[in-house]
Amino acid sequence: SQTIHQWPATLVQPVGSPLSLECTVEGTSNPNLYWYRQAAGRGLQLLFYSVGIGQISSEVPQNLSASRPQDRQFILSSKKLLLSDSGFYLCAWNWRQDNSPLHFGNGTRLTVT
């Protein structure tokens, strides 16, 4: 069966510090990978998605970047965090077929102070 791991679970970082969140998927190959952000009490905003190694698409301009160095590894980064980067970050994967449901990791709750 497939599993998705995301860490850390919580993170408190000062403004201006760097960020690296990691997500890995097990039990499948060639998945689509996604990073979503959820502000408190709000919906899910798609930040990045990837259909393969080194292939990253950005949905919104922002202070963040993503990389996919391996087939089942997806990394979300920032060089300098802003207060507005606080939120709940969710990694997700799905099969490479139309309408495949998303499977989410447990999320990282980031607080920028």
């Binding site: 996604y34 009490g41 709000r42 919906g43 899910l44 798609l46 998605y49 949905e59 969710l90 139309d98 309408n99 449901p101 998303l102 499977h103 989410f104 990791g105 447990n106 999320g107």
Partner: protein, 111 residues
Amino acid sequence: GQQVMQIPQYQHVQEGEDFTTYCNSSTTLSNIQWYKQRPGGHPVFLIQLVKSGEVKKQKRLTFQFGEAKKNSSLHITATQTTDVGTYFCAVTSSNTGKLIFGQGTTLQVKP
């Protein structure tokens, strides 16, 4: 771009009452998915509807896809405290092929 409106934003019910959340789109949808997110948790896939007028049931949950494939609903019969959470609909963007989520309906159930 593709958008989906989900209402209501919040709903407080007494345990045992019914609950319904609605998703509406201005364009015809190829499919719609529903997810549930428990407080502090991550969204979990519930179901996908594809056919016009489709109705699917999961125990006390009933999912409907409109005849015109522009709207959908999730109905919970006789809510329980375990139903607490935020329910999201999600549709496939005709532009990008990626899932776009509604804003969600947060359900609170008073015991």
